[in-house]
């Protein structure tokens, strides 16, 4: 007797990939073809907003690629819609399904970040983490120099919980404080994405 599948082989099994779409950006599940663009962003300047670790690995492409894949199982490339360029990366790191907590890592081309609209990628990803994945708490870890650049957004949305003093060296070799901020699900407006005309599908 031969085994006969009970369903047509073309049927998809497993969870459906999620695409997060805004007016200016689309978040796509990370693929290998995204890595080179992310590598270019990181190579041109050390602009890593909220990157969980202050120490960058080698900038060699394959080494960086291995590092990125090992960092997290929840990673989305940020693609701007007008010209289709990959401009950043959103990561969920240090996931704890039991505690329902997760860390957030962001890589973003600074020339786009300063235009303001890429914050849409952050809103989409946070909404995904809270409303779809059901996380209770999201952590943001960063050097003090990053905190000063992002101060406005952080003060609006997050709570500083831990500061490691003179913890990590920055790119100049100086020790900086390392902060841990958090945002809880109860602080998140579940209607925000819809009210801004963004799409989660």
């Amino acid at each position: 007797m031969s085994w006969v599948p009970s369903r047509p082989m073309s049927q998809t099994y497993g969870p459906t990939p999620v695409h997060l779409q805004g007016r200016w950006v689309v978040l796509e599940p990370l693929r290998r073809d995204h890595i080179e663009s992310i590598h270019c962003i990181l190579a041109e300047e050390p602009m890593t907003l909220l990157w969980p670790r202050s120490h960058m690995p080698s900038f060699e492409l394959r080494t960086l690629e291995n590092h990125i894949w090992q960092m997290a199982t929840l990673q989305y490339a940020v693609r701007e819609r007008s010209q289709g360029r990959v401009i950043g990366l959103m990561q969920g790191t240090d996931e704890s399904p039991r505690d329902r907590t997760i860390g957030l890592g962001i890589v973003m081309d600074s020339s786009f970040w300063r235009r303001g609209w890429p914050v849409e990628a952050l809103l989409l990803f946070l909404d995904f983490l809270f409303e779809v994945r059901g996380y209770r708490k999201v952590y943001f870890e960063m050097l003090d120099s990053t905190r000063r650049r992002a101060a406005g957004i952080l003060d609006l949305w997050t709570r500083k919980e831990v500061t490691f003093t003179r913890h990590h060296r920055n790119s100049l070799g100086e020790y900086e404080d390392w902060h841990v901020f958090s945002m809880g699900h109860r602080d998140w407006d579940p209607t925000l994405v819809e009210r801004l005309g963004l799409t989660r599908r």
Partner: protein
């Protein structure tokens, strides 16, 4: 100090896994040895916690009985930091205090460390007196760890600076 046999710090042996598997979840513990409610870690997992990324560790013994595990874990020597991890019998604090002090002093002497960091659930570790005097409370991750039902407990984060430990002027030099 109980009995006539001096307490001592000795090196960890593979056989120490036996008593660790009995006390984990019962003794006072820092973050590395904190498990989810009801968890039953496998011997493989316990072995990894005992040996992975732990350059130095010792156990406190009296008459062959063990009542503490002290670990230097996850060093990041480029930044001169490492984690201090503890597994402590709750009724032996007065005996443990000098041994913990000895271990911490030795770690600052043997490694180019600026500071040690330690985390612990608020309901899982009472700081020994020798640490209380010098530790800096770095903050608290509120409602961080699940404790059953809808209850979550806070997670305290501590720093132990070399200069504070030895009572010298502040600085980043690991010497």
């Amino acid at each position: 100090m109980s009995g006539g046999t001096p307490l001592e710090l000795t090196n960890v042996q593979p056989s120490d896994l036996t008593w660790i598997s009995r006390v984990v979840g019962l003794w006072q513990r820092s973050g590395r040895w904190s498990f989810a409610l009801g968890a039953t870690p496998s011997p493989t997992k316990l072995s990894r916690l005992l040996w992975d990324d732990v350059p130095t560790q010792q156990v406190a013994r009296e008459d062959g009985a063990v009542f503490a595990l002290l670990q230097l874990a996850r060093p990041e020597l480029d930044d001169g930091i490492a984690k201090l991890e503890l597994l402590l019998a709750p009724d032996r604090f007065s005996d443990l205090d000098p041994l913990i002090g000895e271990f911490v002093a030795r770690m600052f002497h043997e490694y180019p460390l600026r500071k040690l960091c330690m985390t612990a659930a608020a309901d899982e570790l009472e700081l020994p007196p020798c640490l209380r005097a010098t530790v800096r409370w770095a903050g608290c991750l509120t409602d961080h760890r699940h404790r059953g039902g809808s209850r979550y407990v806070d997670w305290n984060v501590y720093e132990i600076w070399r200069h504070a430990w030895f009572g010298s002027e502040s600085g980043d030099e690991a010497s």
